[in-house]
């Protein structure tokens, strides 16, 4: 296993796809944005959940907050500032909630994170309603090519971040926490601090991604920006790709995007059903994911 080589491979793949706008035209640029979005989100999710075993079912909360920040600061702040603010807001939220939330383990953590995301969704909704809004529309967003490169940069940043964590003490400690939290702590791993750090690190890029997608959608509505399907999709991609592997999120996102491109053309109704079937099959028979299965890297 050579994480540095994996990083090079992933970055080379991302770099190669930077040529899409010059070859593929608008449609493929759109596909590219979606694919990079999923790479960035799933890579960030894996940083926390793949490494530490704390499966977050509420990662959409960071995405939604990021989207909200960008839309709320539209035409007030420059886009670059509001995107940075989106990432910051997500990180601050992760930091503030991380302490109590990360005390909860196992399946309780899974449903708690879901609950927190839904709670935030409804609080944002109530806040928007109180302010007399229900949805926000932003006009004059950047060109699609700009968003493409922005999302590409976010995917690359997420990958580098995930790589950096994996090869650091933090990554080593998180893996130990995943395997046995108490034993890890007894061997000197600062468990609470590491979990919180991973939580914050895995939140900031989804925040920026949410902001960028708000620019892409030109529309913000809490029900959509905080759609739990986004959280579920991150998990499904990580599971299918392999969650403790730098290439996993790329492979998972690629599978999803490829599948949806192929299926909605010929069998739109079946797309979701097949997605569900794939998830079932992978959980039951290939729990280590495609990467774990195809490039088995550890001796057994």
């Amino acid at each position: 296993m050579s994480p540095a080589r994996d990083l090079m491979v992933v970055l080379a793949l991302l770099g190669a796809s930077a040529g899409v706008p010059f070859l593929g035209g608008d449609y493929w640029i759109g596909v590219g944005i979606t694919a990079f979005m999923w790479v960035a989100l799933t890579q960030s999710w894996s940083l926390l959940s793949g490494l530490s075993g704390y499966v977050s079912l509420g990662h959409v909360v960071f995405y939604g907050l990021g989207a909200y920040v960008v839309v709320a600061s539209w035409e007030v702040l420059p886009i670059a500032v509001s995107l940075a603010l989106a990432a910051g807001a997500a990180a601050v939220f992760a930091f503030a909630t991380g302490m109590p939330v990360l005390r909860v383990r196992g399946p309780y953590f899974v449903i708690l994170t879901f609950g927190v995301a839904e709670l935030v969704k409804f609080v944002v909704m109530a806040a928007e309603a109180a302010a007399g809004n229900a949805s926000r529309l932003i006009l004059g967003t950047p060109e699609i090519e700009t968003l493409f490169f922005l999302m590409l940069a976010l995917a690359a940043a997420a990958t580098v971040l995930a790589w950096g964590v994996r090869v650091s003490r933090l990554g080593h400690g998180l893996r130990a926490i995943r395997e046995d939290e108490e034993a890890a702590e007894t061997l000197g791993v600062p468990v609470a601090r590491y979990k919180l750090l991973a939580f914050v690190l895995s939140a900031c890029i989804p925040g920026a991604v949410g902001g960028a997608m708000a620019l892409r959608n030109t529309y913000f509505e809490p029900l959509q920006a905080f759609d739990p399907m986004i959280s579920f999709s991150m998990i499904a991609m990580a599971v299918i790709g392999g969650s403790d592997d730098l290439r996993g999120p790329v492979v998972g996102a690629a599978c999803f995007v490829f599948l949806s491109e192929m299926l909605w053309a010929n069998a739109p109704q079946l797309y979701m059903i097949i997605l569900g079937l794939l998830l079932v099959i992978f959980v039951l028979f290939v729990p280590e994911g495609l990467c774990g299965r195809l490039f088995r890297s550890r001796g057994a």
Binding site: H172, L187, G188, A192
Partner: protein, 242 residues
Amino acid sequence: MSLLEVRQLSMRFGGVQALERVSFTVAEGKIIGLMGANGAGKTTLFSLIAGNERPSSGEILFENQSLAGLRPDQVCRRGVARTFQVVRPFAGLTVIENVTTAALFGMRRYRDRAQARDAAAAVLQELELGDRAEALAGSLTLSGQKRLEVARALATGARLVLLDEVMAGLTPMEVEAMLLTLRTLHRTRGLTLVVIEHVMRALMQLSDEILVLHSGRLIAQGEPPAVASDPEVLRLYFGEAA
């Protein structure tokens, strides 16, 4: 000079008094055997020293400094390591990764991952796990996993190691091997050990001093022959058979 000092340590779980005003000291470089029936409070004592549990009252001093309020990872970095009675390997990580974790995060705290790995490999050699380094920890035999527990504790660089039944469930031959290993480690590394063991003969052979716990109270302490002939210990611990 005493490395560890336990003063008036008490622990209650709900209505159960797990430990009651236990006091003792462990001198540096000694091997202390901890005896007692199931439920006597031996493992609880380890958990309190290692910071896994908070005592109801009493004090624990390590190198004359209180461990009160420290988390397990902080205690570990002070230089106290423990093993678990029911083994807790990081099953999905390889053997060497298990031990490297301890080298990275324990008292020794290697900054460099390659160095940590080298140190881990050295410890594995000492515990005769060198050839299993790349295997998944979950795939080891029980004997192997017990050795891994010891290896991890050692790799932290701890000065005091609490060994919780590292010989339980092993065959007589494996017990002999483990005893040899522990003695060697004690000698070469100058470790201080506190050992919980049910294999009585092994404990008597190994220890400089024996502590006997019964229902949370320390009922006897002294050199092995003295404790072995203590009438109360005989009555309580060995029952009528003795």
